[in-house]
Amino acid sequence: MTSEQRLALIRAGLSARHARERRFRVYGLAAIAAALGFVAILFGMILARGLPAFTQATLSLDVAFDPAIVKVEDKPQPRQGQSPADHRQELLAWERKVTMLNWNRIVENAVRAAAPDTAADARQVLSIVETNARFQLRDMFVADPSLAGRTVRVKMLASANADNWLKGNIDRALPDAQQQLAAPARALADTLRENGAISFDFARHLFTNTDSRSAPASAGLAGAFVGSLYMMLVVIVLAVPIGVMSAVYLEEFAPKNRFTDLIEVNINNLAAVPSIVFGLLGAAVFINYFRLPLSAPLVGGLVLTLMTLPTIIIATRSALRAVPPSLRQAALGLGASRTQTVFHHVLPVTYPGILTATIIGVAQALGETAPLLLIGMNAFVAQVPATPLDQSTALPVQIYLWQGNENRNFFEARTSAAIIVLIGLMLTLNAIAILLRTRLEKRA
């Protein structure tokens, strides 16, 4: 074969090869487009569903504390020589009497005052107001008994069903039997929206209230948030010192032998153990063996600490490995001991790396759900936990609980809103990590 012929052969194949090259490139671009598309769809769907839940139908009504309904003796005051427990009991008895008053009647009157010509009956009127409105009025009265006989402007949440109706989350064309509200109640909600008694206000209670079953429209994330906060505190207090110390030991001090090899393999493997296995460990050891309380953020924090440790150890080790050996040699050459070398000279250089690793580890722990389910953190808790030993949920578990709520068309938005809060927190953490790292690295 002459070189001419060889060239002709190559040229003949060239266009096919170039076509293959172009196709390959297109596959690559398609893969990237798919990955980016998934990110866009995921965030788009969550924002589209979740953002409306940050505002909620709120009634602003002139509530008359009608003395004919609010009929109760004066609030008991602590008397001389009475034990605090006795006083509290008297107070509770009085509050019970206050609770028995017909607060629903007051709510109903307030709604009727805002929409005088409604056809709705008492039940239908109350169905558009959140059920805890009566407790809200009661609490106002308990705090200030002089309200009796006065008329004040009060903001009350509309019920979940009214919120759905006004936001159009439920098809307005559905027949009566499939609607959540009766026809007069729907008309009433529309009237109130038109005359301005119902407005869409920022849902502050999403951040200040705890979870609620009886009053779903007022359910909030406060309890879950504090529970997550306690767990993150436990993780930071335990995982960071233990992780950094163990990384320093393995990287700078440990002799190379079977034992340290074992620790190495162990840590690498622990980093890839499914999180649910840590939950099983927590259930068997912390709950069943040590009898620590179920649903406690302390136990959750311990489980998450064990889970986060490998992340922090591995990242700290790679930060230590990146420190130039000349630094160590200089310190050792000037007579510093090995401990002095490490703690005075090597470790401070790695602070940005350790900080980043910590924040990434904490963010990962913040989003973890499965192990928490196994130690009982999926319990329904309607209080903000006061200590890390009280019952509590966590943000991701609250998302899990809300997505399972049967009032779907209300709670889907709620769940997405909770997801936005959670992802917002995680992104903030990561942003802080990047910011701190760049600032610290600049200084170093």
């Binding site: 490139r25 006795d86 030991y249 493997n269 989003g367 999926n378 997505q403």
Partner: protein, 458 residues
């Protein structure tokens, strides 16, 4: 209140001890004329360690036993007929006494004996607390003085402090081993208890999963066949890999071989955002968006696809794993020596030919390692399958049908009222053991392959 006092005491002791060691060391230095072995800070730290250790020990003992002691004291102060009560009644009596003693009081009339016991309890509590504090402070002070007197110019304080630090570091490193040991021990122990109810053969080779409820009484009372769950796990994981591997690998190839640095620096972090999203969010995404979409797509194509199915869970899990595969493969592809690539291009191969015939074969072991790690992730993933796989533990071969997996079943069996004596709960640990063993094998194999691969090109 008590905690504040204890913390304050410890802080004061720490400050004094450190100061004492420091000043002794400083005062020694000129007297001797020569030099001290250690710097004053080490003397201070050494004295502080010696002073705090016994004080902490005493406080720990007090914390461990004070509750039992005060209880015994209350019971001894109650009249015989009350002290002879059992169970909840006795607890209630003790609780009342404690509440009166705390000054908050109890509702209703208090019996004279309760008041007396409460007064005695208040005195007892104050006394024991004062004793514990005094003992801790006293021993701390004595230890401080003793440690201070040890300080001589030749004392090797630095070496001693460093030995303590090294011990602390070793203790921290052992936590990782203890965790693994704890996982293996607890899973094994509970799994063995489970196997006293159900034979391992029935568990590992059974084809029916029907555990029944723990409330219907003890005993096996159900069938615990692992195979349907294992099948579901494998099916979901395979679908996930079918989604993640092509997209992840092609993304890595394009970003490392074709993309400009600018594109790379914008696209890579965006794709990696997918790795940071909590799995519960993926689960919700699968449930409300992907599931209904696949179901309607199936209807349009004439296929029967359920909204919660192996396909839904697998697809979303695949999306979750994309960044995992893409960043691992990216690292691995960049480790292939540049000479291989340049040689191939120099001989006239197109870029895609170089990638397919030279770079990928060279990077193959590493990519296999990354693949195995990704499979291990997929097998252990929980929340996506809990929400989107449909939880139906039957041997079905159609991916459009709901399935159940090992992880889902662990969650189902261990949430709600868990009774650690029933096989219905214990089976979770046997499942956990299976899961742990599977992921362990995959992880170890993957880590081994990746390490070998690194060595090859280093």
């Amino acid at each position: 209140m008590n905690t504040t006092i204890v913390a304050g005491l410890l802080l004061v002791l720490l400050a004094f001890a450190y100061r004492a060691g420091w000043s002794r060391s400083a005062s020694l230095a000129p007297a001797d004329g020569g030099r001290l072995h250690s710097r004053p800070a080490y003397h201070g730290a050494l004295v502080a360690i010696w002073a705090l250790a016994p004080a902490l020990l005493i406080l720990a003992l007090w914390a461990a036993f004070s509750d039992t002691a005060s209880r015994a004291w209350i019971v001894s102060r109650l009249p015989p007929d009350v002290a002879a009560l059992q169970g909840a009644d006795l607890e209630e009596a003790i609780r009342r006494v404690r509440q009166i003693a705390s000054g908050f009081g109890v509702a209703g009339e208090t019996a004279p004996y309760e008041n007396a016991a409460a007064r005695a309890l208040a005195e007892f509590d104050t006394l024991t607390f004062a004793t514990a504090i005094a003992a801790a402070a006293g021993t701390g002070a004595l230890a401080l003085l003793a440690a201070r007197d040890r300080i001589t110019p030749r004392l090797r304080a630095r070496n001693e402090v460093e030995a303590v630090m090294r011990l602390a570091m070793i203790a921290c490193s052992v936590v990782a081993i203890l965790t693994t040991a704890g996982i293996v021990a607890s899973l094994l122990a509970e799994a063995v208890r489970f196997f006293t109810f159900v034979s391992p053969v029935d568990f590992f080779f059974g084809t029916v999963w029907r555990p029944g409820f723990s409330t219907t009484g003890h005993g096996a009372g159900g069938e615990y066949g692992l195979l349907p769950l294992l099948w579901g796990t494998l099916m979901v994981a395979s679908i996930a890999m079918l989604v993640a591997l092509p997209i992840g690998l092609m993304t890595a190839i394009y970003l490392s071989q074709y993309a400009s640095p600018g594109t790379r620096n914008t696209v890579k972090p965006i794709v990696e955002v997918l790795a940071g999203i909590p799995t519960i969010v993926y689960g919700f995404f699968a449930l409300v968006t992907v599931g209904p979409f696949l179901a309607s797509l199936g209807r349009a194509l004439g296929l029967d696809i359920r909204a919660t199915s192996a396909l839904t869970a697998g697809t979303v899990m695949g999306i979750m794993i994309i960044p995992f595969i893409s960043s691992l493969s990216d690292d691995i592809i960049r480790q292939v020596p540049k000479g291989l690539r340049d040689g191939s291009l120099g001989l006239g191969a197109t870029q895609s030919e170089t990638i397919r015939r030279v770079i990928l074969p060279a990077a193959l072991p590493g990519i296999v390692g990354a693949f195995l790690l990704a499979v291990s992730r997929a097998i252990g993933e929980t929340m996506i399958v809990v929400l989107a796989a449909g939880n139906s533990p039957f041997l079905r071969f159609n991916p459009g049908e709901p399935v159940s997996t090992v992880t889902v079943t662990i969650v189902n069996q261990l949430t709600g009222d868990t009774d650690f004596a029933s096989p219905q709960s214990l089976v979770a640990f046997a499942l956990g053991l299976t899961l742990f063993a599977m992921t362990l094998v995959l992880n170890v194999a993957a880590l081994y392959i990746v390490r070998r691969y690194r060595e090859q090109y280093e």
